[in-house]
Assembly symmetry: C2
């Protein structure tokens, strides 16, 4: 499963990332950066350990220029295969206390510098679980714990060309699945059955994980994060299809709205839905067109919202316009009111306005977009218009 990323990202890139991580840790005045299993570890080392309960942790300590990976002994051979850059591997045995081990490594590394009375400053990765964070706080009593994202977001938020290529491949694969589903039979099947087909097709198109398949039909389309149910899809209703997973470690996430007629034109979309969808489509276009370096993230949200508010659907668009994407399905930057951070070339995010009329129906359009040097680079290219299909 790790092969695609391992092929796509050269080993030297990991060494560069981890070097930058160590420098940034020092620049932030931290004694240690503690990175558990998850996307930050993958970004820095290429190692995708299973998220099990035994502690695996990358420790960057500027005090002694330390780059160490703590792993359970039984996972040492797997770590030696999975970790790309040169790191010192420190193992612990089943009856050891790994949190104590990490605390000792942090203390020793910090004492390499000039002695001070200030508390230790430690940052932990966002996905570190309480099962590890609470014992670390206990073993490093008196230390101050913050989020490693203050350090790592600067590295991860702008995607390089290899990462953008992986996002493009993931997006193209998801696009093909959307086209396949739109061309197939839908009426008379359950949402859950179609969702299972989506997952199978995502894998067939190269995804190693098919994490979500929202198939929201009829009134369920008014629930943005609807979980596919046993509801049978009827002729004469919309289906919001929001699908994604990972390919080569990078996430896909796209949404299209279909209207199924069952082959009878009398079951086409009503005027109210056509109007709603037209407003949504315009909002999506306007938001996408607003993407360029220097524009605050919240402006993209504002652009979509202005169109939707102007047509009186403001209350029915109750989520942000988008989220960053990369090794995680949702990551920074978030396109949401209050986020004044300016977009920069290489940032990748979804643009996904939606309009939801509770109890009746809803619609959403979502593309993954990269902020290019001169404007948006759109990674999903299936038609965005309302697709009226026989289903």
């Amino acid at each position: 499963m790790t092969t695609a990323t391992h092929d796509a990202i050269p080993t030297a890139r990991y060494a560069e990332r981890i070097g930058k991580g160590l420098t940034a840790t020092a620049d932030h005045g931290l004694d240690a950066l503690l990175v558990g299993v998850g996307p930050d570890l993958d970004y820095l080392t290429g190692y995708r350990a299973m998220p099990l309960e035994r502690l695996t942790m990358l420790i960057l300590t500027p005090g002694d220029h330390g780059i160490r990976l703590v792993v359970p002994r039984l996972e040492e051979p797997a770590a030696r295969v999975g970790v790309r850059p040169d790191v010192e591997i420190v193992t612990w045995e089943e009856t050891d206390d790994p949190h104590h081990l990490v605390a000792d490594l942090v203390r020793v590394a910090s004492s390499s510098g000039p002695a001070t009375d200030r508390p230790l400053e430690v940052a932990v990765s966002d996905r570190l679980i309480a099962m590890h964070l609470l014992p670390l706080q206990d073993r490093l009593a008196g230390a101050r714990f913050g989020s490693a994202s203050a350090v790592l977001r600067e590295l991860r938020i702008r995607k390089d060309a290899d990462e953008i290529e992986l996002l493009r491949l993931a997006g193209a694969a998801a696009d093909r699945v959307v086209a396949q589903i739109a061309a197939g039979r839908l009426v008379g099947r359950t949402e859950a059955d179609v969702a299972e087909e989506v997952r199978t097709r995502l894998r067939a198109e190269g995804h190693e994980l098919a994490q979500f398949a929202i198939v929201a039909s009829g009134p369920n389309s008014a629930s943005p994060h609807h979980e596919a149910l046993d509801r049978v899809i009827q002729a004469g209703e919309p289906i919001v299809l929001d699908i994604g997973g990972t390919l080569g470690g990078y996430a896909s996430d796209t949404t299209r709205t279909l209207w199924v007629t069952g082959g009878d034109d009398r079951n086409g979309p009503d005027e109210a839905f056509r109007h709603l969808f037209g407003v949504l489509h315009t909002a999506h276009q306007v938001a996408t067109a607003a993407v360029r370096p220097g524009v605050p993230a919240e402006e993209i949200d504002r652009a979509a919202r202005a169109v939707i508010d102007g047509e009186g659907y403001g209350e029915q668009f109750f989520h942000r316009t988008g989220h960053g994407i990369g090794l995680e399905g949702h990551e920074e930057p978030y396109l949401v009111a209050g986020n004044r951070e300016p977009l920069e070339a290489g940032m990748a995010f979804s643009i996904e306005p939606g309009i939801y009329l509770a109890g009746r129906y809803g619609a959403r359009i979502e593309d993954i977009v990269v902020c290019g040097p001169d404007g948006p680079i759109v990674l999903n290219n299936e038609p965005r218009e309302l697709r009226v299909v026989a289903g």
Copy 2:
């Protein structure tokens, strides 16, 4: 995906669990139990929210008998479908601070009781991520944070009849996949290719998640958590097959060791491997036979280790003998030296000794076992003997 559990566990059971959770929270002297997305939330409410970044959190506050679920507004409809027992749903908007909201709910609920000067006592679920735990610690400055497992393990550690039935179904499905793989072609294929077949077959046998497929051939079989690679399987070597996922929300996890001959009897296992495997098989049998209520968890580990140590392989068995299993693939109780907790009827765990000769080969046998009132109830029933197959 939630259907199987939702069918198998009656709604009244969730109401009972959440009631016990509230009582146990009070009994532990806690002001609040905070449960994020993950197995604890699933156990208490049946709700399997996606592990995304927006905060979803069940809050149990004995001070006002509060049972509240905080969810992002856009997930409210999904939560109303997914949550089984009666809970008060509190929503937050995209521009709200959900950690502030939780902190306020905890403070108000705690002030319902008699006023005291003691710090608030709060426990959080083991799988809560730092992205949420650190802000909660900030918003509830002065509160003491501990692990919710002190409360929830008492509820979760003994499986009821419905849970054991789900574990049995998951185990039987994994057994069928082992049999199918053992009967198929192996020599000349890559480990990664066989691992992909395992995942496909687990899903075909009813698993909603096929989380891992260790296919460790030849020298790779000496790495307990080996990730399947592009190595081509050869005639005349062992393959450790350790596979699992979830079915109806409950985990499967089984290991069998094959020896592939490529159809030529001259490629059979050497004497050293036969001896190693014989010792391992005996250790597995002895450990399984030792299971009964009242026996300390570490005794099962000791029983397996005594056999393996006695034959001089002690250094080559460097992991614990087993882990609990249920909604999580690894959970309490752990069968490891130092865990003196007595087994009780209804506890479910793996028994999985292994012997690993670095650079050469290794073997492991793993079953899921429930502690019955009079002894072990074994949920995996594929033959445990060394399987010499053409492959």
